[in-house]
């Protein structure tokens, strides 16, 4: 079986988790990999739990959903409480400090994604794109070039520049984070 890389992006409806999943899957494909993106959400348009899952592989993807996540992004407390148990033993948990107070593990990477988004673009909604940049910068899962192209292709028309700025902030913060860890 070829290597599967599983990413779960979880938060609340309206935070852009599903769009983030689409962007990540598109970037993986632009990098020449195989990707499948699925989602789970309630009938309401905003609020309620919302999650998006992306499986990335060099080979064929049969089961398209997460079995044990390699990366878990939590943009709400509920998401963190609910999905931590599905994270791999040495999987990466990224939590937005603005929305998540109680951490299930001391190994969590807790960063103020929504605050960075607000400072960089003035819009909290871009936090999901900041998160994507941070996640990609931290793991190298997809290339920056592919990420930028994928953001351009999928964000609402007219918001490309704002979202690319959000993405750049995510990548920069990831670099800083790596530097701070290696000290």
């Amino acid at each position: 079986m070829s290597e599967r890389y599983e990413v779960r992006l979880a938060g609340k409806g309206g935070q852009g988790m599903i769009l983030a999943g689409i962007i990540l899957a598109e970037a993986a494909i632009l990098d020449g990999k195989n990707a499948a993106q699925t989602q789970s959400y309630g009938p309401e348009a905003r609020g309620g739990a919302s999650r998006s899952e992306v499986v990335i592989s060099d080979g064929e993807i049969d089961y398209p959903k997460v079995t044990q996540a390699d990366i878990l992004l939590c943009m709400s407390q509920e998401a963190c409480d609910r999905y931590f148990h599905d994270l791999k033993q040495h999987g990466l948990l990224i939590a937005d400090a603005v929305h998540v107070e109680r951490m299930p593990t001391s190994r969590a990477v807790v960063v103020p994604l929504t605050q960075w988004a607000e400072e960089a673009t003035g819009r909290r909604i871009t936090a999901s794109v900041v998160a994507l940049g941070f996640l990609a910068g931290l793991t190298g899962l997809v290339s920056r070039q592919a990420m930028e192209a994928a953001v351009r292709a999928h964000v609402p028309p007219g918001t490309e520049e704002i979202n690319l700025r959000a993405l750049a902030v995510g990548f920069e913060q990831a670099e800083q984070f790596i530097r701070s860890q290696s000290k």
Partner: protein
């Protein structure tokens, strides 16, 4: 770049366009709405018509009307809407009107879980409309296959003058994955059988050697009658047994004699297997994952994936289970296709892995069943 990210519902819409569909009537419902959204944009680009109707009953009626008018026609819905369409699906079956009905299954009954997947309409797709009638039901397992099966659905509908149900599920409909669509030249597109007999000789329901009477669109100068009542060769109501019985025999025969064309399935390492997993739709993805894991552990597991659910591929299933003690049928319902498998291979051989709560059957659940199934008779 080879391949692009595409959603199942989008692939269905594109498959319809590629197959020559030029009419869509429907009413929005999660998780099928995306099909309508794409076709609302795409159909006018290719000279087709899109219409949002007042409900699903009218949608199905409009599809039948469009088909009689000569257009390849389709609608797309989900559980509650599919229930509303049943009466007119029966009309299409009785009047032998080609059409494609897409049901992107969500958990039910009633409005159920609108955003969650299910395979709970397997029996409804077969018997949802009243009375004995043949039907063709296809169930895709991937985004690419959704494209292919939509094309096949149109081809079969036109070729055999019958409604064809494309039974998707929310997982496949909403999933996005990397796909490479075939080039237009590589796609086979079938047109309905026509005739060059003069109008006064034409019989819309004539018993022909192929069992599929030629179909001429309304408006071509050929006058004939269409009804939901049992009818004679000219389409007029009848109660004569010597007209009813040949009709019944013919509409079933036209499907049964073409099973080679209609039955789509994939059999993998069935020959020396000690256990076989039979799956379809999104659940086939979980099943394949589990089968690979089981093989890696040394189990000899065969895998049979059914693309055509109805007519039920009896002989295919029978052959696959011939020398085997255990057959596992995972599905997102409490055992609907399993009933058919049990009918064919015997109840004691079949292990059901069913779930109707809006969650996918996981690979682990199928794997557990494989392990239990193998040890049960050792």
């Amino acid at each position: 770049m080879t391949g692009k990210l595409m959603q199942g519902d989008e692939a269905c819409a594109e498959g319809a366009i590629a197959a020559g569909c030029r009419f869509f009537a429907g009413y929005p419902i999660t998780p099928a709405t995306d099909i309508a959204e794409v076709l609302a944009r795409r159909l006018p680009q290719v000279g087709g018509k899109f219409i949002q109707m007042e409900d699903e009953i009218a949608s199905m009626a409009a599809v039948i009307g469009a088909s009689v008018g000569g257009a390849k026609a389709m609608t797309a819905t989900s559980g509650p809407g599919f229930s509303l369409m049943q009466e007119n699906i029966g009309y299409a079956a009785m009047a032998e009107i080609p059409c494609v009905v897409v049901d992107v299954q969500r958990a039910g009954p009633s409005t159920g879980l609108p955003t969650k997947p299910s395979q709970g309409d397997v029996m409804q797709s077969r018997w949802g409309t009243h009375g004995d009638h043949p039907i063709i039901v296809l169930s895709p397992s991937s985004v690419r296959e959704t494209f292919d099966f939509t094309v096949r659905a149109f081809n079969m509908a036109e070729k055999y003058r019958t409604p064809v149900i494309l039974l998707m599920d929310e997982m496949i409909g909403h999933m996005r994955e990397k796909v490479e669509l075939p080039s237009p030249e590589a796609i086979e597109v079938v047109e309905r059988v026509s005739t060059s007999v003069p109008p006064e000789w034409y019989k819309a329901y004539e018993n022909t050697p192929s069992d599929v009477p030629p179909m001429i669109s309304f408006g071509q100068g050929y006058r004939y009658h269409i009804t939901g009542l049992f009818h004679d060769e000219r389409g007029f109501p009848t109660q004569r047994l010597d007209e009813i019985d040949p009709w019944i025999a013919r509409v079933f025969r036209k499907i049964e004699r073409n099973l080679r064309d209609i039955l789509i399935y994939e059999a993998d390492e069935i020959e020396d297997a000690e256990i076989v997993v039979i799956a379809y739709g999104a659940t086939a993805r979980s099943a394949r994952h589990a089968v690979k894991q089981a093989r890696a552990r040394g189990y000899r597991v065969g895998f049979l994936r059914l693309g055509t659910l109805w007519p039920f591929p009896e002989e295919v299933v029978e052959r696959a289970a011939e020398r085997i003690h255990r057959v596992i049928v995972p599905e997102m319902n409490l055992g609907q296709l399993a009933l058919e498998v049990e009918r064919v291979v015997g109840r004691r051989k079949v292990m059901r892995v069913g779930k109707a709560n809006g969650e996918m059957v996981t690979p682990q659940e199928v794997l557990d069943a494989i392990v239990r199934g193998v040890s049960a008779w050792l």
